[in-house]
Symmetry: D2
């Protein structure tokens, strides 16, 4: 389950009737509209020929919980209908699983009943449901001045070396690969293009940032803010690592180097530097939350690979055909913003309860 007070479920399959999400616990009065959802869903489709975006635009329908442009307090169901799709190229993966893809584990876990077409629930397509739910969370957060934004900081060997400011990051959607540094953006395009030409795929890294988060979000000892964010991020296909602030680099640092000294700025307690990434002890400290996420290269490649035919239990060479993205990171950016928004909305509601109780 995702969330305690702001609870999100997602449903749907890549080549089934569609993709959706259900939000329970959203307070009444939050501005929500199909236009808002459509706008966010559009961000999943960069305006470039680098990716295999489905041609038509996603048409989200709000099935419940919104009335006169505002959340009602009742469960909000959202549905995005799929167009008719050709699933024939996936038939083979039922029995000859793609290496490092979910084909194999799905057929075992679901005992052959899973909807394998288009990757079923393991397709990047399911992030449409996440993005729709995230749009509602984002609308709630914006009432409290909280912004969540993500961008791509690595594709293969093309890397953004410097730390970008929130204002720079906000412009990442102008880049076809969602990289806010225009020089690196061009190199990333090249990395993807080359991988694609070779029938291969390529991994990458993204950064998510949240500004305006008040001090005090997170519920240790179990529901830490970083833990809940990490769990939510792993919902996104292809994620293999999550770190906060200086993350893995902290493991070779001394405390004197890693600690962020407290300072006063305009009468507010802040820190100089932000190696903690805005979270201490599982609780937000008021500084921008900074998260880095590692994505593996998409496992679907047309280069021949060794696999196993599960019916005959013998080794085979698989050459996957189909419309696969050579890199999923740019298209995952809105999903990253969405899951972090959802977790922040949940913890904001939890925090709000204690605030009211302490003052009420």
């Amino acid at each position: 389950m995702l969330g305690l007070m702001f609870r999100v479920s997602i449903f749907g399959e890549s080549h089934g009737r569609g993709i959706g999400s259900l939000i329970e616990g959203c307070p009444p009065g939050v501005p929500v509209s199909e236009e808002l959802l459509r706008e966010k869903l559009r961000l999943r489709h960069p305006n470039t020929d680098l990716f295999t975006s489905r041609r038509e635009e996603d048409e989200p329908e709000i099935l419940s919980g919104v009335f006169n442009g505002r959340s009602t307090g009742a469960p909000i169901a959202i549905f995005i209908r799929n167009r008719d799709l050709d699933s024939s190229s996936y038939e083979i993966f039922r029995h000859v699983p793609r290496p490092s893809h979910a084909d194999y584990v799905a057929s075992v876990k679901y005992m052959g009943f899973n909807d394998y077409r288009g990757g079923g629930i393991f397709s990047g397509r399911i992030t449409a449901g996440i993005v729709a739910a995230g749009a509602v969370a984002g609308s709630l957060l914006s009432k409290f001045g909280i912004s969540v934004m993500a961008h791509v900081i690595r594709i293969g060997r093309a890397v953004v070396e410097r730390e970008l400011s929130p204002d720079e990051v906000r412009r990442a959607y102008e880049s076809p690969v969602r990289c806010a540094d225009s020089n690196v953006s061009m190199k990333m395009v090249e990395e993807i293009r080359r991988a694609r030409e070779e029938g291969d795929s390529i991994g990458g890294e993204a950064e998510v940032m949240a500004t305006g988060v008040p001090v005090g979000l997170g519920d240790p000892p179990i529901d830490t803010l970083d833990g809940d964010i990490a769990k939510a991020i792993f919902m996104i296909p292809g994620v293999k690592g999550v770190e906060f602030g200086a993350g893995f680099r902290l493991s070779s640092m001394r405390g004197s180097e890693a600690n962020d000294p407290f300072v006063l700025r305009d009468g507010r307690v802040e820190t100089e530097g932000n190696k903690s990434g805005g979270i201490n002890g599982g609780i937000s400290n008021g500084m921008p939350i900074r998260i880095r996420v590692a994505f593996r290269p998409t496992p679907s490649i047309s280069i021949p690979q060794r696999s196993v035919d599960l019916r005959e239990m013998k080794p085979v060479i698989l050459r996957a055909m189909g419309r696969f993205d050579a890199c999923i990171v740019p298209r995952a950016i809105p999903a990253l913003e969405a899951v972090v928004s959802i977790v922040l909305a949940d913890h904001l509601l939890r925090w709000a309860s204690w605030m009211w109780i302490s003052r009420g």
Copy 2:
């Protein structure tokens, strides 16, 4: 909340009455005893003068849910009583928070009511409760041939470069720093000793491994196995990053390099290589699960640091005094094993339900 079918709560403070955990949903018949818990808790105290271990041994008491050496099916409560401790050195941190420690966020979030003594719920001491609960989970897992083991792979610049086998990792507890490579172990000791002498602290990395996990654990789209493991790991103080398999290194790889080809071994489907770390699409694939965890240097150092006096709202220089570990990674090893065991036990129970339904 931690777990759905095997649910663990933890409670207690560093200098309060004690530390404990509550396990709900443990099936009946699992061997559990205070001796087993004591043995696991002992692993939190390496036999070395590098760490500040409390002198007496932890004495776990099973308060409920165990009868004649077996779990009964009822909630299992475990309590480890604290000895009388001197909390005077912590008085200062209420108003002059240690940089990058939870002192500040705790005082804001809990509105001054938190038990700040010894770091309260933010102390590494809380991992005693986690370890106790993990021992119960481990006992359940062992009935199904599942083993979880962790070891330290980096302290500062001392790094284990090669991949160790499960059998090697199992011997990590012989090292005072829980590093299974004896050469690197000595360098790690040096890293810690030097940091301590300079009044500083030092970070590190650990690896967790789980073998014998059947194919099919994990419940996407939300409760992915990697997501649930990541969340649980963030309960451990000092964690700043989690990755699976080749993790962040996958972000600069091509798919052809990152994919683990399927092969047949003794009639079973396995993969050659394990860059996926035993998980695809949020579901275990039968290969060893491999997780790497980044720990920050402990924020408590005696080197003077800039902080803020929260009563008078003015900048001050803090020089923290007290018994602080210069490195927390070795002592976190049993806690890492514990949280991963707990998550695996939970998903094993979830998986078992479907197995029974499909066959029953």
Copy 3:
């Protein structure tokens, strides 16, 4: 939340886009089809002019989680689109709430943002989503020989005095008021007709029965089977009381009279009599589960009533106009079967996990 392993959410409003439900945790391989759902939904509309059934048939659409007529193991979303409806007669209730209806509490709780049209989420219409989810639960239960059936045992003063057998109860749908005793059925029709003619409404009682339930379902101390069933039943509009077995009558009995002696029948342990209603200590005992449910008369009546105009804060006389049922009990019968089926499916999955663990 409803359920732990078999989790059901419902959404939708009476006069919004439609009504639906989401099922998470349903194991793969369970037969589910739109035809099955349609059949169950039809039971909400007795073939009689006693009730205000919407003219067209409910057309359930399975949005996800079902493939080739079987559950896939992924979340199952179901949606039943509403037809265009005239909501004008409800405008008044926003400001002049119907006594004992949810109009007033909804406007306060949801701060005026609730979708009041047709009663919004408080309409009996929401039971369509419950019934759809219950059909999936029922399909799972039937694989294990578990049947759930309900019938009306009281409308006003018309009462079924004797205890009906499961076989008799199964025929209740032949009666327009879902009463399996044909004599009483006619009297019930009269009770409803008379109330309606007088612009009034009338209450009633229903009994739910579940047969084939194995010994051992229920998870005390908290998630008792009776407690979980009771909670689920209160989701149905108009419910004001729930009792198991002899229920409130037990409160004036002696133990020697109330106890069900254990006997052996065909080598199985059973009880003589079933005053416990199939549950002891929160756990099913293998006997038929018997539940009685009290329904209030629907609060919407056209007889003038005292209310308050909330805008002007002054007393007014309200005479509610609209298409209201004079009695909701017969139409609630499939919803009762559904919620009990859902709870049993959830506890069956929980129980199955322990069964597999103990044998595996």
Copy 4:
């Protein structure tokens, strides 16, 4: 699970080490002390020879989450240690279950591993943990002017016919059977005494009342306030029915009789009469919440009963010996207050979140 924001778990067995509870999510600053808990636990032991109260007083120990007399915001664990007890008389019930007791279902469900001594988790003793947690909830509620009180309204044929005011109910603890009407109280004492003399037991009814509850508590469509209260009440051993307001009597009423007209009192919207029992549509309406609870006679009686020897699978006559209460209702009164307090505290916290969000 019990509660979402204010979550309570209970643990412990009748003849094990003790009984306890764990509260997660309690906001900081709530007054809690062992003296407060002791006082509430004392109410479980009426000052009379009618009941088999253990001789020594319950000594609650707060293991965590309270500091300087206030909740800290961290999990609160409470433990009440059992004295050494003689469990020999229970040995027989492992194999010869008491009719209508949990002996039989427990031995099947827990596969023989359950702690059967003293009834294990099915003993009325577990209500000590509930009462302790309820004391914390009550302390939180009292900050908001919410009071919860319960009393006995029926023992066998001795019945309180009139509706008592909250002020009268508050005096119920002066009666040895917790009945606020002193005439009926004496008759109840007689009912119990007579049943006991005959080696029998007797059932009863209790009423719970909550005053000061704001409009808006409850989260339909699933987590209705009445549903959550009902579920919690079924945690108490012996409960077989729950009704709100006029409850089952509403089933024979007309709407015109059952509805509570809205009226203005001192500028506030109230209702005349309270047949709804303070809840409409699953949400509190600001009137006193009124709940009636049916308790079965305790199944442990010394009158010979038919049972089955589970080892030899043959019928036997059981004559239960041991210290059994002839009536459990008076001793359940503080537990009833506790569970209702816990549910109200949880929904208060959920409601508070939306209040803060709407104003913040």
